[in-house]
């Protein structure tokens, strides 16, 4: 089961390393890990997607709460959450494929942000599931490179 943990932590050097080290040491599997500054410069927000059953997640939470730099941590329930992933994808597109690919992309809510004679670069902002589906859809055309952020999430 996937869980999205949102943690408010001190904005000081080494905090990211301490939290990620805790995950490695205890063998918790991280799907994604995002750190960013917040409206208050004293704190940062870590958004971590982690897999595990309820016992494991409870352990993850308690272990994280023990860290001196972790101020508050929340396991956000899917129904109470808005979440998005940002994707950039470079897809092969010669003159014959180009139009077809753009049609498919716009059906996926992806935007062309750069074009060359051999490839297109798309940008898409969507839920994790829809981004994964989109990647599958584009595989047959030939993905040259892709990069995506982890999940950013907020409680409603």
């Amino acid at each position: 089961m996937k869980h999205v943990l949102s943690a408010l932590v001190n904005n000081s050097p080494g905090v990211t390393s301490r939290v990620s080290g805790l995950f490695r040491r205890r063998g918790y599997n991280i799907d994604s890990f995002i750190g960013s500054s917040t409206e208050d410069e004293r704190f940062s927000r870590l958004t971590i997607v982690v897999r595990g059953d309820d016992v494991v997640i409870a352990q993850v939470r308690s272990q994280m709460e023990k860290l001196e730099d972790v101020i508050h941590i929340e396991d956000i329930k899917p129904e109470a959450m808005i979440s998005k992933v940002l994707l950039f994808m470079k897809v092969k597109a010669d003159i014959n494929d180009r139009v077809g690919i753009i049609v498919v992309a716009s059906a996926c809510n992806a935007k062309v942000i750069e074009m060359s004679k051999d490839y297109l670069i798309f940008e898409a902002l969507d839920t994790e599931e829809r981004i994964s589906e989109m990647i599958e859809i584009f595989k047959p055309y030939g993905i040259i490179e892709l990069v995506k952020t982890g999940v950013v999430a907020m409680k409603r």
Partner: protein, 538 residues
């Protein structure tokens, strides 16, 4: 089907491992069980830290990775200082640690320690093996990573259940690591620039570090210096790259180095650094160098170049290869006056070898000791005043000078000497330490006795932590604190208790005869030398 433990043993044999320094425990028991049926020799140490140091001494002489092995938890954490020591001095090690069962990882069970995490800053690379099928590949990669490029320690952490897991065994194929491709050959454009710099230099100087040994390039260094008649200084790790008495060798530089060597750095107009980090101890005021000095830096690790000194001509690659490449490009030296003047200054050096009111003169003693030893002897110096006395005064000829240069780890000399002697039993190997450092390693006297390792041990006894005392005298208004070693045992009696012969001397008149007695002894021998506590390191 064989077990993971058997697979490890086969892979180690396949890597040509002949000896392992280690200490057993519960989580490494399956591997010990299979190891006992192999031809690989095991040396039981008396503390895990020394397993690492012994593997280090072995590796430096054998020119291949040394292997050490401990159990999980405290066994593994005790190894960390040795890993850090090897990491700082770029010594190739493969460390194997047992780990708790993989299904219990992260639960803080008995003797669990996150060793891959704890050792992360001190290892070149590390593995936590969770599937025995990965063992052949991991072990092959570990030896490759440890020995190639800039050498260093690699840690393999293996849970006990992975050692018991049954697998279909086959040896791993060629190593192919996408992110790891060390540069060996120097860039031809850079070689040309180096030649041009040499051609136009009036006062060139070579500064050699420990990298020359990793490249096995001592002969090329000598040819390079001789052909171009360029004087040479060394860092502490570079001692024995050239024989001490070589006319072009101006000695060690740095905080505890020779004035002539430091002055040469300041005066040179071209400094050719070969395989050295040029740390704070080597070049005290990096900002002062380089005003009029062009710097060429040859190193296999591109991250070292420009780290401590701004470099004009970086050359990344293997020191030996690059020296050959430079010589092939036939640079020409024009002015020889600089070399002659340095040689003349070296001749005029006054040595402080006179007698002392109490105790021996340690500087004169280490000089006499090294001159009495065979030309190819291996000299292991510990850390403290004894290291400074040794570095400045021992006369290395065709052998090696081993010490913990980067980390300055007390208690390195005896285990390093054990490893070196086992690597090359025909060589005379001497460990020189102080009474402080001796007590950090004296448990290894048992290892020596058990395995019949015939090294020579010299303990400089002044009843003080002498180098710290000197710092307190100089910088803390002579406030001597926590440096008094009162309570130390009778060192000769301790040796005797381990079945090791030895004697004590307290003046230089006895030195010659005592050294002769030590060297005539076929087995291990300990010589305690009484030194006055106010004897300074310089």
């Amino acid at each position: 089907m064989i077990t993971g433990a058997e697979a490890i043993v086969r892979c180690l044999e396949n890597e040509g491992v002949e000896i392992i320094f280690g200490y057993p425990g519960a989580t490494i028991a399956p591997l010990y069980d299979k190891l006992s049926k192999s031809n690989i020799r095991h040396i039981l140490v008396r503390h895990e830290q020394h397993a690492g140091h012994e593997a280090s001494g072995y590796a430096r002489i054998k020119k291949r990775p040394g292997v050490c092995m401990t159990t999980s938890g405290p066994g593994a954490t005790n190894l960390i200082t040795a890993l850090a020591t090897a990491y700082m001095d770029s010594v190739p090690l493969v460390a194997i640690t047992g780990q708790v069962s993989s299904d219990l990882l992260g639960r803080d069970v008995f003797q669990e320690a996150d060793i891959t995490g704890a050792a992360e800053p001190f290892t070149k690379y590390s593995y936590l093996v969770k599937d025995a099928e990965d063992l052949p590949r991991v072990i092959k990669e570990a030896f490759h990573i440890a020995a190639t490029g800039r050498p260093g320690p690699v840690l393999i952490d293996i849970p006990v259940n992975v050692q018991q897991q049954r697998i279909d065994f086959s040896y791993a194929g060629e190593v192919n690591l996408r992110g790891y491709k060390p540069t060996i050959k120097g860039h031809t454009g850079q070689i040309k620039r180096v030649c041009k710099a040499i051609n136009s230099a009036e006062q060139p100087l070579i500064c050699v570090g420990g990298g020359i040994f990793a490249a096995d390039g001592q002969a090329e260094l000598k040819r390079f210096a001789d052909t171009l008649n360029i004087p040479v200084v060394s860092t502490m790790m570079g001692i024995s790259a050239l024989p001490s008495a070589h006319p072009l060798f101006m000695g060690m530089l740095g905080m505890h180095g020779k004035t002539i060597a430091n002055q040469a750095i300041t005066d040179s107009d071209l400094l050719i650094i070969i395989g050295a980090r040029v740390s704070d101890r080597a070049v005290l005021f990096p900002a002062h160098v380089g005003k009029n000095t062009k710097i060429v830096h040859i190193d296999i690790d591109p991250a070292e170049i420009g780290k401590n000194l701004s470099t004009l001509i970086p050359v990344v690659g293997d020191a030996k290869e690059i020296l050959i490449q430079i010589l092939e490009a036939e640079p020409i030296r024009k002015s020889e006056g600089w070399t002659d003047s340095l040689k003349a200054k070296k001749e005029k050096l006054v040595l402080d070898y006179g007698p002392r009111e109490t105790g021996i003169n340690p500087k004169a003693f280490v000089n006499q000791l090294s001159r009495s030893l065979p030309d190819d002897h291996i000299y292991c110096a510990d850390v403290g005043q004894n290291q400074i006395w040794s570095a400045a005064n021992c006369e290395v000829r065709t052998g090696r000078f081993l010490t913990s240069g980067g980390m300055g780890t007390m208690g390195y000399s005896i285990p390093a000497a054990i490893g070196a002697k086992i690597a090359d039993p025909d060589k005379t190997v001497v460990a020189v330490c102080g009474d402080g450092s001796f007590q950090m390693q004296m448990m290894e006297l048992a290892t020596i006795s058990q395995h019949g390792v015939g090294i020579k041990i010299v303990v400089m006894k002044n009843n003080k932590l002498g180098l710290v005392k000197e710092i307190q005298k100089k910088s803390y208004k002579n406030n001597e604190c926590a440096v008094d070693l009162t309570g130390s045992p009778d060192i000769v009696a301790i040796a005797k208790a381990y079945g090791i012969p030895g004697r004590r001397i307290d003046n230089m008149d006895e030195a010659e005869e005592a050294i002769a007695e030590m060297l005539s002894c076929q087995c291990v021998y300990l010589l305690e030398c009484v030194v006055d506590e106010n004897e300074s390191s310089m």
